[in-house]
Symmetry: C2
Subunit: 357 residues, 2 copies
């Protein structure tokens, strides 16, 4: 069911074309513009609107201001048997991340597993997209990134780590890939900010206030307080593993050294880090056997007894894949805030498409 | 500070010797008995008493009943450049896991990263021990395992996945390794069971009752209800990644196919799965540079502002390493339930040490 605040429904092709044209007009190559558009339009097709084309205007702003290099070329600067370090050359984070996960996929196909650390990247959108690129080729993809601190730790007064997302995608035979994309905060900062914009209060597990205590008031976010880590020390602990693999080991910036891609003047590189771990399941098990075992796991979950009042038991990604299928058939139901941001992007390009007018 | 219910304080050496002798008497080789004792005594030295020598009597029971093979020999049954599959031959899970993480460490030293999947293992104690073996040699260790379902999913009436622990250890220069060991449930089942044994109620985020709804009553656990996943769909999603890497990809049993190591008659192999991913940081960065960056991260956290009422901000593992140092200096303060289980173990061996009498 589309969210209640849908203001435009657009085809995947039209959203992809507008986004690609915008990147191309900002100076990206045709291939890079297309790669970036695919990340954002696919994310919207999954219904993950906080991380899709909503960010396009912000990326265009950085591309014009110079903090992102339209013709930046991500490259492998060091590598070994099953690993590589990619320098993103301050290209669009989406472009760098596609290159990096493809590098990890190639390593995995050779060695069974591959790790690629990334530096000089920027915000990379939805981590799940890159994991899915791997799963689409029968590989397990694990993707993660750091960001400027916005999430507290147990006992902290303010932010300690970024929202540090992690995602995975696992090919699942006749089913769509099992797909999880989560921040290590209780909720994404975008949800808190959206509540602030709507003037609503929030559950007391989302945010800590200026004193480091839980609060239901999002009005100061993100300037005041910090998101709460998911499950307390567990989310905090995972975020530090992600910081290590994405930021420390790749040679990228980490914690407060990361640039603020959303709120600064856009002129500086942010030096975000990211990491991609890919496993080639075909090395360990025949494809049919792995697929059969995944199908058995998923069917077992689908057939498990339900809690009182629950309609269905799902595996990770099932909701996103259902939305994806509806998006491809009936168009993508863009919420108001996404449309507003797309209009900002169209102002930058000077070429608003008919469907956005 | 030792827990209030300490009933015996014992040196690491004495606890290790008793445990090793017990394994040796059960038929393990000297080396395997010593390896297993080191896992359990170290876990107690960290103060993680739910996963240390408390389980010794249960392991001895399985070794005598035949479900664990005293002279089982874990071996690599398939491998490639950066991966291997280990068959544990139903040896003690601790012995198999030490072998498997060492195999992953060797792969990582060659290729930068290594993945080892394990089948025909059993309960492996504290995941953090194996991660630490890697960190002790300057490598990043990530360890995980599956188990028979005890944790529900959002919308389920009963258990869907195991508590599926994951741990990591990262070498940190002049500081002890950053070390996280967490289950993907809100809390370990042992904590719920301990509350049941004490007749106490529990927070409503720990357990779901027979109807799949949150409950504060642990009296039916583990026969009735299920643990709640940490942070809802996030813990559930992570547990399925762990199930995939530990159980599906290794060829081990998964979910309900895993044997119940604690409650069955001990005669059957449980075919637990596990997975170890090791990364050699020296491949990507000079050792001094990696250490310096980790030290900067840790110092930044130590110096961050504190929430009202908080005494200290810690990185994962700091509490365990403080306990470890105290344990090595002043002895390990064993709680009553551990001592009671050690007495059961001594009944099995017939040779209670003086300190346990």
């Amino acid at each position: 069911m589309p969210p209640p605040n849908v203001s435009k429904t657009v085809t995947f092709a039209a959203l992809h074309a507008f986004t690609k044209d915008a990147f191309y007009a900002a100076g990206l190559s045709d291939a890079d513009a297309s790669a970036g558009a695919d990340v954002l339009a696919t994310t919207d097709a999954w219904g993950v609107f906080t991380h899709g084309t909503k960010a396009l205007a912000g990326y265009l702003r950085r591309l014009h201001a110079g903090g992102l290099h339209p013709r930046g070329v991500p490259r492998v600067v060091a590598e070994g048997g099953a690993w590589a370090t990619v320098d993103g050359d301050s290209a669009l984070g989406l472009v760098t991340s596609v290159f990096a996960v493809q590098t990890a996929m190639a390593k995995a196909k050779q060695q069974g597993i591959g790790y690629v650390g990334v530096r000089n990247s920027c915000h990379f959108g939805a981590a799940g997209y890159y994991s899915w690129l791997a799963a689409r080729e029968g590989l397990i993809g694990i993707s993660m990134a750091n960001d400027i601190p916005s999430v507290g730790a147990p006992g902290s007064r303010g932010p300690i780590t970024g929202s540090n997302p992690i995602s995975y995608a696992v090919p699942a035979g006749r089913y769509p890939p099992m797909l999880l994309d989560m921040s290590t905060a209780t909720v994404a900062g975008g949800k808190v900010y959206a509540a602030r914009m709507r003037g609503e209060s929030i559950p007391d597990t989302w945010l800590m206030g200026a004193d480091g205590k839980p609060t239901t008031d999002p009005s100061g976010y993100p300037q005041i307080g910090a998101l709460q880590p998911a499950a307390g020390h567990k989310g905090y602990g995972l975020s530090l593993l992600i910081e290590t693999l994405s930021g420390i080991l790749s040679g990228a910036a980490f914690t407060w050294r990361v640039g603020n891609w959303m709120w600064d003047d856009g002129k500086q590189s942010t030096n975000h880090g990211a990491a991609f771990i890919v496993i080639d399941t075909n090395a360990m098990l025949p494809a049919a056997q792995f697929a059969g075992r995944m199908e058995a796991l998923i069917e077992e979950i689908h057939q498990a007894p339900l809690a009182d009042g629950a309609a269905q038991l799902r595996v990770p990604g099932e909701i996103e894949w259902e939305r994806y299928d509806r998006s491809m058939t009936h168009g993508i139901p863009l919420p108001e805030d996404v449309v507003a941001n797309l209009r900002k992007a169209a102002e930058i390009t000077g070429r608003p498409p008919n469907w956005l007018k």
